[in-house]
């Protein structure tokens, strides 16, 4: 009567007899499992990184841009329509109940000079609302105030990267920098934010009051023009209502009749980030699938070695049969040998994969995260590969005629 523990014992003994052959057979599985785990780790790491960066963008965000997807059937680029104004932003803040904070933005690039050093960077004209909308506090100094906006004062908040490049070790507070040749007083340094989802350095920015940007830096094509509005909803549940309220308000303010298209577009930033996250997940699956091919190859390797092994051990199989091994005793022995090889290969592959992920992290700088799920998956897959690819050789072995097998040279 066959039993699993007995057969496992027989299989294990048989594998120990030729350790070198066993080790070489496992190599394919080891590489396969290692590759799958490392690839999944790269993908998961990228996902996590995006999630983290999503968090730094701030939550429950809407971004409102002038112009729409199509304007009279023709696609217009964003910012080319002349519609958003500072007044719009103020109205949204006042009247949309689902909205917590609003940050109007009027931005562009400019050269900023301190002493004999210059640095080209993005300059954002905005209000104090920016700090709460982006969850981005001031690190030292003070934020932009309503008074600054009212008076269009020439003050600036610098991002840490700008400070590092222009000031070295000197404290920038109260210093004078020139933006587009106009002197600005530094009133503070922003807290460090890190990289954005798009891979840009968020600390490479300068904030000035929106009105100063309008009047002194970038000009306006029409009165009160701003380039975008960022809106923070009160909560995740308020996001959709906020989107509706903002759209309704702007249509009213822009005197758009029922038949006219929006001359602005409201984008749910959170949705955009989620789309990006979905993409990375797909990428992860793709990477994993490609790596799985190598696991499959490893399985084929096991089958080939086992076929050779069965031939080499024909006499041994004959002896076992003569002594009383039944058809399934032999079959199960070889299947178990294949399973044991794949499982051990799976464990070693796991270690190789985890180590490989760490190496990738250090050498290539990619974030990698080995999730327990991927480890279990790879391991289970290797067991299945063992059973599947071990079956044919085992079947062949069990069909041998003991008399012929005993005579085999």
């Amino acid at each position: 009567m066959i039993s699993i523990p007995w057969t496992a014992r027989i299989a294990l003994r048989a594998l120990k007899v030729n350790k070198m052959r066993s080790a070489l057979t496992m190599l394919g599985i080891i590489i396969g499992v290692g590759a799958v785990i490392a690839m999944l780790a790269v993908g998961t790491g990228a996902s996590r990184r995006i999630a983290e960066q999503m968090a730094t963008m701030g939550s429950n965000l809407l971004i409102i841009l002038p112009g729409s997807q199509t304007s009279g059937g023709v696609r217009m680029g964003f910012g080319s329509q002349t519609t958003l104004t500072l007044g719009d932003a103020e109205a949204i803040q006042r009247e949309c109940r689902a909205v917590q904070d609003v940050a109007p933005i009027h931005n562009g690039t400019a050269q900023i000079i301190y002493g004999n050093l210059n640095w080209s960077t993005g300059v954002l004209g905005t209000t104090g609302g920016m700090n709460s909308v982006r969850d981005w506090p001031v690190g030292s100094g003070r934020p932009i105030t309503d008074e600054d906006v009212r008076s269009a004062t020439k003050v600036a908040l610098l991002g840490q990267t700008v400070v590092d490049n222009l000031f070295g070790g000197i404290d920038p507070l109260d210093q004078i920098v020139r933006i587009k040749k106009i002197p600005f007083k530094v009133i503070g340094v922003m807290a460090v934010k890190g990289q954005s989802v798009m891979g840009q350095d968020q600390d490479d920015t300068v904030f000035v009051p929106v009105t100063t940007a309008q009047k002194k830096l970038f000009g306006t094509n029409f009165p009160g023009m701003i380039r975008q509005i960022m809106v923070k909803a009160k909560s995740a549940q308020d996001l959709d209502p906020a989107e509706k309220q903002v759209a309704e308000l702007l249509r009213q303010r822009h005197h758009l009749g029922a038949k006219k298209d929006d001359d602005f577009s409201v984008r749910n930033l959170t949705q955009m980030m989620q789309a990006a996250e979905e993409q990375t997940k797909v990428m992860t699956l793709l990477l994993g699938a490609i790596a799985s091919v190598s696991l499959l190859v490893g399985g084929i390797g096991i089958m080939n070695i086992m076929l050779v092994s069965v031939t080499e051990r024909t006499r041994e199989i004959g002896i076992r049969m003569a002594i009383g091994a039944k058809t399934w005793d032999i079959r199960l022995q070889f299947i178990m040998e294949a399973i044991i090889l794949s499982l051990i290969g799976g464990i070693v592959g796991l270690i190789v994969g985890v180590t490989g992920s760490q190496v990738l992290s250090v050498v290539a700088g990619w974030p990698t995260v080995v999730s327990p799920f991927s480890a279990v998956l790879a391991f289970a897959f290797s067991g299945i590969v063992g059973i599947f690819f071990g079956f044919y050789p085992a079947y062949k072995a069990s069909l041998l005629n003991p008399i012929d097998a005993l005579r085999y040279e």
Binding site: G324, K326, W328, I403, L406
Partner: protein, 228 residues
């Protein structure tokens, strides 16, 4: 008790238009406790006969009864079980598992019979002691002489208390002195433990250890002589 009964056993291999009759209507009865030598030139059918007696093969015609059970109606796995319990094989080339200790080699039949580890070891050690190899249980075949390897094979053959030993030219690879030792071991097992021994051999001096000699020629049993 009629241990082995062959009734008009034939083994026929079809080769195109001709039939090869490896065995032609062989009938013989073997009682418990006998010591039998099977002789005959190459191709005479003695190996084919041994394979059928050992339940490795089934006759094309006729009946083979082992302990009054007709082997012809049994499945491959049932025959395997009978071999495990009733037959001990000893081969000319020893046929031990390489890189495996003597102890593990002797334990092998018990692995296919579900015997627990402790009992396996005890029985295997006892069998090794019976054949005079006490102390060598951890040696691998390549660390043993020819005679010692054959003793391990014999220990393996008796470890499941099989009533029959089938030995196919067991001394073929051994020198004269060692051959004598092995034959004396067979005699001891036959006398003391009552094991029925069937021995295939070319050599008359080896056959002399037995008490009955049957001869094959061209697939037929041509003589059957009991010693007085």
């Amino acid at each position: 008790m009629r241990l082995i009964e062959a009734r008009e056993i034939s083994k026929i291999y079809p080769l195109g238009e001709i039939e090869l009759k490896a065995l032609d209507s062989v009938s013989v009865t073997i009682e418990e406790g006998e010591f039998l030598a099977i002789m005959g030139p190459s191709g005479s059918g003695k190996s084919t006969f041994m394979n059928i007696v050992g339940c490795l093969d089934i006759p094309t015609a006729g009946q083979y009864l082992l302990e009054n059970v007709d082997a012809g109606g049994l499945s491959r796995d049932e025959l395997a079980h009978i071999r495990n319990q009733k037959i001990g094989f000893v081969f000319q080339g020893f046929n031990l598992l390489a890189r495996t200790s003597a102890l593990e080699n002797v334990e092998l039949p018990m692995l296919y019979n579900g015997v627990a580890a402790k009992e396996r070891k005890r029985k295997a050690l006892a069998a090794l002691k019976t054949v005079g190899l006490e102390g060598r249980e951890n040696h691998n075949p390549n660390q043993l002489s020819g005679g010692q390897q054959q003793r391990v094979a014999i220990a393996r053959a008796i470890v499941n208390r099989a009533p029959i030993i089938l030995a196919d030219e067991p001394t073929g690879n051994l020198d004269t002195h060692t051959s004598g030792e092995i034959m004396e071991l067979f005699q001891k097992l036959n006398n003391d433990a009552g094991i029925t021994v069937l021995l295939v051999t070319h050599e008359s001096d080896i056959a002399a250890y037995s008490r009955r000699v049957i001869r094959f020629l061209d697939g037929r049993l041509v003589s059957d002589e009991k010693k007085q």
